[in-house]
Symmetry: C2
Subunit: 298 residues, 2 copies
């Protein structure tokens, strides 16, 4: 049962966000510092909150889902660090702060990303060792970890990143744009929700409904990102706007126009909310979150 | 019981090396191509062979260890791709072939490395789903995966990489050099052997002895790499020599001199062999492998 607000879940996560990084030797402390720098740079914590909320929605405890919430945020953060590098999007600013490679250089930033990815899997793998006396809980954890690795992997986020890189400066079809958005962004949102549901011991119906919610929310989130890159406020966003157009990126506004994109954004938000219409009393956080993201200006 | 040769294990691995990469959509096929390019570039397969041999040494079946052997090689390959990038070691040649970023560009090479790391964990996580009817086998797999993620992670390989990067162009102590070699190289050799042992259902003594073997072999392997970079044959090595000195890398020859390094190399090789002295009839592959690596010229 969900009885916390988004901010309460976020506060819980923020308190524990570094707990799942193993103790790194002083001789490699730059690795820890650089990972911590990007982790602590004030993200929205959308993925870990979704994971913990989905866990409680299905009857589990948020505290027990923390290693997996950590894994989600570590994976998201690694992807941002690598995505910001000069050979990728070449961004100097992220959440109002200099990007990782600007502070630490490209070699360290590459390794900070690599380290965060491995720390994500290590967090989950270590957690599983604690459930050798509980076969059912162990199976839920394995299923959850599989959702996460799939979402972040070569048929999920990384697939989206490469299609995105390759679509630059080329004519991009609507089908390809949809594929990029689903893999690059929605797959991680979906993974967070499904992993949380698995950890909470979901029913088949809960998993199905939450998946539909997450797919629509994830796509809405990326359409919103595209829109904000056109008409967002750089000071609020904490990053440069107009970057997509300058890089000839495949975006909704570029392919559908701004008005049509906003219409699509509204439809996706409604579809996300509708997916959880059967759970009026328990789904408030998810429904409110969809509207909160709809209203977001950064 | 080990009843195959190194080459037979290698052939088994090579046949299945791509089996554990999920089916990647045609829209992201460059990701698959670039991952496959580096995976298929003719590595020695030291880590997967060690893993499979350790599994059989302890009573398991090599075929059942293949997803974990794949994970080891995927992780090793991702580290090479990132290590070769211009912001790291800036190598154009690897195993006699152009490095990944020379063929595919830096953005794709970054993602090929990221994708291989995630594919490694996905291979193991997917394998675990197949053992939900066998709690003991499942536990061995979780332990094996944990060995691998630790070996490749922020207290293992990635820690070594960052210390290596930071030691460039600086005075490096013998203690730091040892730390770098243990974390950067030996930790993955150790992870391969220990993961295989876990999968094979090792006794405590087997795990302990194999660990000592792997620690010495792993360090010997890196000392050998350092020596070959000084006096190896570029044509045989398939990569440029003199690279460490040009990059002011921390190496054994730089700190101990060439003759002392060779003596150390011999001692480590003997220590590796001695660690398995109690298993005369079953440890031949491991003992021969140590001598084979001692004699290697590439």
């Amino acid at each position: 049962m969900i009885d916390r607000t988004f901010d309460e879940y976020k506060a819980l996560f923020d308190e524990h966000q570094l707990d799942f990084i193993p103790d790194i030797d002083q001789k490699s402390i730059t690795l820890y510092d650089s990972m911590k720098y990007s982790l602590s740079a004030g993200g929205k914590r959308l993925r870990p909150v979704l994971l913990m909320a989905a866990c409680e929605f299905c009857g589990g405890k948020a505290e027990e889902a923390l290693p997996y919430a950590g894994a989600m945020e570590y994976l998201h953060t690694y992807s941002l660090i690598h995505d910001d590098m000069p050979c990728m999007d070449d961004d100097d600013l992220r959440r109002g702060m200099p990007t990782n490679h600007i502070i630490y250089g490209e070699a360290v930033a590459t390794l900070a990303g690599d380290g965060l990815q491995s720390a994500a899997y290590e967090a989950m793998q270590r957690d599983m060792l604690l459930y050798f006396d509980n076969f059912e809980a162990l199976k839920s954890r394995i299923r959850a970890a599989y959702e996460i690795v799939k979402g972040a992997g070569v048929t999920g986020m990384v697939a989206g990143q490469i299609a995105d890189v390759e679509a630059e400066n080329k004519k991009c079809s609507k089908e390809l744009l949809n594929y990029i958005h689903i893999t690059k962004t929605a797959s991680m949102i979906k993974a967070a929700v499904r992993a949380g549901a698995r950890l909470g011991g979901c029913t088949d119906k809960e998993l199905e409904d939450l998946t539909l919610y997450a797919e629509n929310l994830g796509l809405a989130f990326q359409v919103c990102d595209d829109i904000l890159d056109v008409e967002g406020d750089q000071a609020l966003l904490g990053k440069e706007v107009g970057h997509d157009e300058a890089n000839s990126k495949a975006t909704y506004p570029a392919l559908y126009g701004l008005e049509e994109s906003k219409k699509k954004f509204r439809e996706l938000t409604d579809a996300a909310k509708d997916a959880l219409a059967d759970y009026y009393d328990n789904a408030e956080l998810f429904v409110d979150l969809a509207e909160m993201l709809y209203a977001r200006v950064y």
